[in-house]
Structures are given as C-alpha cells and as structure tokens.
C-alpha cells in the first residue's frame, strides 16, 4: 500500500517537537539523554477536561495537535487511530491498588479515564471532531499495528488519518513484568498516495507491505537515539523519523518493524517525484 507521511508530532525527553528532532539529528542526538523530561501541557484541551487529564492524555493530545498543525489538516474532520502497548499504567496501578484494598470506592473520573480510548475521547472533544476515532493495541508491536491501521483507514476513507502512538514510563510492580523505561509520544498524519498533499514542504512517500514473519526492533542510525528508542515500544517510530529527515542518503533501504507478535511491516521509502 502506498502512502505519504505529511505531518509529525513528537514528545520525549529533550525532543519536544519534530523541529527539535531535526535539530538534534544534526548533532547526532548528543545530549538528549541529559535533558530532564518536561511534561507536556497542551493548552487546547478545554478547561473542564484539562483538570482530569493525566500525563498520558496530555502527551497524546499534544503530539496529535503538533502533527495536524504540521500537516495543515482540518482537525475536526480527520479520522484518528490511537495506539499504545500498555495503555495508562498510572491508572491501571491506581485501580488495581484500590481494588486490592478494603476501601474500594473508585474515583469516577479515574474510572472513566481507564478506558484505553480515553486519549481519543479527549482529543475528539479538544478538536471538536466527530470523525471516526479508535484505539488499537498490538502489545510490543503497537506502533506497527497502529501504522498499518492508520494507512488502511487513509486508503479506506480517502483522506488524511492521524496516528497517535505513545507509551508512558511505568513503575513497579507492572514495570517488573513489562518495563517502559522512557516516555515517548509520536503522531503522524498519513494519507493515501493519490490524495492531494497540501503541505508541499513536508511529504514523505513510502510503500508498505505486511510480511508474515517476525522482525527484530530496528536500531536507530544515530547512537544518541538508541537508549530512548530501546526503552519504549514506540521506538521504531524514531527510526522511521530518522528516515523522514531530508538528505538521509540511504532512505531507499527498506525498514522493517513488528506489526504483530508473529509478523511485521516493511516500509520502502520512495522518491518524492
């Protein structure tokens, strides 16, 4: 399936936009590990909802907003796919601890936010969007699974689709079983190839195919990015972003990363012409 990436949003330690990613790439991402994590505070969430939004929701809404702005798409009519490997583990931890105790009265707001599509709901309210929105999971393959679904939707709907992929650093006891060592949120606007691309300044065309064999997680080209990419299931997104940066010479070599437990997707980047 051919598609085109037309917008990017990003939030991680030391990398709080795609522009920051491009700038850091120029110096091999040296020093991003020294930066402290700054929690995003998206101003576009309405006040009523903002009070109840935790880190994961703020992260997702922030990168979603960035990507739509970058692509110049209409937020209210763009369909969206949200994807995470572990979901909101802060809420999972809260719910399970509360339910393990004797006083089991849960906070209604926290229970409402415990649905995996909570970030999608906050985004829809913030963007005033009645377009279809979903949450998908593929455990460790969630970035590939989400990208496949977003591209399939872009082809199906014939318009831009927003992919928002994120996992948040977690703590024990869940981290002992499934550790997320770094917080990372990435959003992409993808369009089926034939759609009119509005933002001539940014358009990365590629061809995707599903391959029914396992793939390892790809390793970033820049050593400075390796720790972040290895500490979050959305790591493959960073390798993909490296390929998006103009001037990378071997954009032509295919990029493979997991899209299911047993299969992967292969991306072949194409010439802009």
């Amino acid at each position: 399936m051919r598609f085109c990436i037309t917008g990017v949003g990003l939030w991680a330690r030391g990398l709080t936009s795609y522009a920051a990613f491009e700038a850091a790439a120029a110096c091999g991402f040296s020093g991003i590990g020294d930066a402290a994590f700054e929690p995003p505070r998206p101003s576009h969430i309405p006040a009523r909802e903002r009070r109840r939004a935790g880190l994961l929701i703020n992260l997702a809404v922030e990168v979603a907003h960035q990507a739509c702005e970058h692509a110049g798409v209409d937020k209210a009519s763009t369909a969206s796919v949200f994807s995470s490997s572990m979901g909101d583990t802060t809420i999972t931890d809260y719910m399970c601890r509360k339910l393990a105790g004797t006083e089991r009265l849960l906070s209604p707001a926290k229970f409402t936010n415990s649905v995996h599509n909570a970030a999608s709901g906050y985004w829809g309210i913030s963007a005033g969007s009645r377009a279809p929105s979903t949450f998908v999971g593929g455990f460790e393959a969630s970035f590939g699974a989400g990208l496949l679904e977003a591209i399939s939707q872009a082809k199906g709907f014939g318009g831009p689709v927003l992919l928002v992929a994120y996992d948040v650093e977690n703590s024990s006891p869940l981290a002992d079983v499934c550790e997320i060592g770094e917080t990372l949120g990435v959003a992409l606007v993808v369009e089926a190839e034939r759609s009119r691309v509005r933002n001539a300044g940014f358009a990365v065309p590629a061809e995707l195919r599903f391959v029914g064999t396992r793939s390892e997680f790809p390793v970033p080209r820049a050593c400075g990015l390796a720790k972040l990419a290895g500490a979050n299931p959305m790591g493959p997104a960073l390798v993909l972003l490296e390929c998006c940066i103009a001037g990378i010479p071997d954009r032509c070599s295919p990029l493979r990363f997991p899209a299911t437990t047993r299969g992967c997707i292969e991306l072949q980047f194409l010439d802009k012409s």
Binding site: E49, C96, R104, N113, S120, S142, G156
Partner: protein
Amino acid sequence: MADTRVGSDDLRRERSLALNVSINSYTLTSALGTGICALRESLRQNRFCLDSAGWLDCDVPCYLGKVAIPDGVEVPLKWRSRNNRLVELALRQDGFEAAVQAVREEYGAGRCGLVLGTSTSGIDRTELAYRQLDDSGRFAEQFHQPAVHNPHAPTDYAAERLGIAGPCLTVSAACASSAKVFATGKRWLEQDLVDAVVVAGADSLCLSVIHGFHSLQLVSAEPCRPFAKNRSGITIGEAAGFILMTRERSAQTLRLLGVGESCDAFHMSSAPEDGNGARLAMDRALEDARLRMHEIDYVNLHGTGTRSNDDVEGRMCGAMMDDRTLASATKGWTGHALGAAGIVEGVLCLEALSTGLVPGTRNTVDHDAPFDLVLKNRKRSINTALTNSFGFGGNNCSVVFSR
C-alpha cells in the same frame, strides 16, 4: 441532514464497487449459554439468564451476566487469565476452529487476519496479581505474564490458538470495541490485505468494571430493564464471540453490508442530548450498506438500561425509524458485555436473520421508547438488521447485516 461523508468523492465511487462481505461461521458464549445451540434454547424458553450470586468478594449489590467456565477449560500459565479462559471456552464451540482451519488451508495462515475488541483484556489477572503482591510489593512468580497484563492479551492468545499469521489487531474503544472490529475486518478484505478475517470480542467480569460503573452510580441492583419507565441502570455481563468473514462466495449467505463510526466530541461519559454523534454512525453505516433506514427490518439497540442513554438513543431512533422496523434491546438477556457487546449483538442480529426469531427486550414491561419496542420474542422473517454500540469517550458504531 448531517453530512455523513468521511472520504473523497473518488473514493466513495470506488467503494460503491466494493465487494460484499460474507459471514461464513460464528459462535458466541455469553450468559445466554455456551455456544449457539444453548443461546437458541435460552431464547426459545425465555430463560432468565442473569445471576444475583455476586462476584468474588465484591459488595456491590447487582445482577451479573456470567459465563460458567468449566474447570477443565484451562490455558497455559503464560496466557492464564479469566479472559483467556473465556476465549478458550468460546473457541471450542460450534466447529469454529475447524472453520478457521479450512480457510487457513485454502488461503494460507498469512492471508488470515484477526481483529478483536476488548475493554477489560486480562485486567482480571492484573487485579489478582495486585491482591497477592509479595512482601516487597512485587508480583508473585505466577503473575509474571507480559502477554496477559496489556490490552492486546486476548487477541494474541486467540491468534496463537487459531494459527492466524496475518495482521492481528486489538480494538479497545470501551463499549464500541467489538462493533468497530467489523469496520477494520471489512476494510482488510476490501483492500486485499487478507482473504479471510476473524472478527471477535472478549470481555470478562472483573472488579474494575463492577466498582467502576458503581462509582458512576450506573449499576442497577435489579436485573437491567432497557427502555423501561422504571429502569435503574446496567447489569454487567461477560462474553466472547467470534465471526469468520471472507469476500462474497455465494448468494445464499449472511453478509456484513456496512459499518459506520463516529465520535460525539462532547463528553467522556455522557452523550449529547440530541444524539447527533450516534445518528452520524447510523447514517454512515446505512450509506456504507447502500440502504435507507426504512429498508432495515430489525434494529438491535444499544439499550443499556440507564436513564440517559436510553432516552437519547430512543429519541434518535424514534426520529429515524418508521412503523415497520422492529427494534429491541437485548442486554436484559446477556447483561452489558462492554467491550464484547458489539459481537454479542452482532451475533444476535445474525441469529435473528437466520432463524426468523426476533429477540424481545427481556425484563422490560412498561417502556417509554417513542416507538413500538419489541418486548416479547417475535417470529418474523427479516432480511436486514442493524446494531448500535456506543461507548465512553463518545465513541459510536453501527453495523448492518443482511441475508
């Protein structure tokens, strides 16, 4: 009327050429019974399927739509959770595994996909792990199960069991989860990503959902009574269901005709009074199916039994339907299976299409829906059916089937 268009005109033309999707095989395990024969028997006998015996040490007074999972139904420790045991039990019914094996042999495992909707996933097991933390506050050995403590757990287990090697995706959009699987599955077939796709739903009882809905004061102490004047909230249920779909193979078949999705853009846990978000999902589903509302013979309503949900859905459907469309809400039989509600009610639509028995609105006597709600099971040959599923996050999905 609202503009229902999502895509471009070019694409809409292309979609009008899209193939119909054929439903080859299905199974459902819910409070109505284990497998389709038990479901038919429960409906035929007008059996009361909800249970007041409680759940673990849960002190919320309520009825539940439970599945009795026999002791012999176990899964390997790597996968163990009540949710996966429910998946295992459901997969063993109605020759479903054999039906999947046949398409796997015909097309190859890599050309078979799976989309499963769940909201609880294996959280029952995570809850248990937190109740048995060791002295240092960590999970005990038997709970070190990375494949269970994440949203994708039942999908990964079912894919392993069914030998599916194509795309596998979990959809988790609260109570719309396993209605939305039809949209993804249909698209995969249309786009030739797969030759066969299993769409499914699996949600199991756990403390999170009972106490969670209780915190919102939405759990009824009595069996739920959708659309009843004296309705008092939801009854939570559990279920697992599987449907095997391929591109159209014969004229004599059940079909998936269309799916419509939308969001309310209004509030996380309540619907706007005008029901316009939900209406948009129904309009989009009808457009996708190339049908008009008066061509729908039966509507399986979302009908949870809460005051406001039934109000909004009743008004919205009352404005759309004419007198000849039958409508009922079936959560009085099954309980609200949350992430599995879409697949439960999808199967009930397929059953109504194949058997000519339209299920009534169990437990409801005196209703305030602005149309003639079907209260008692009715024999009527129907050709088209639509089901609604609406979830937290303002997520709506409608699905249209035919025979």
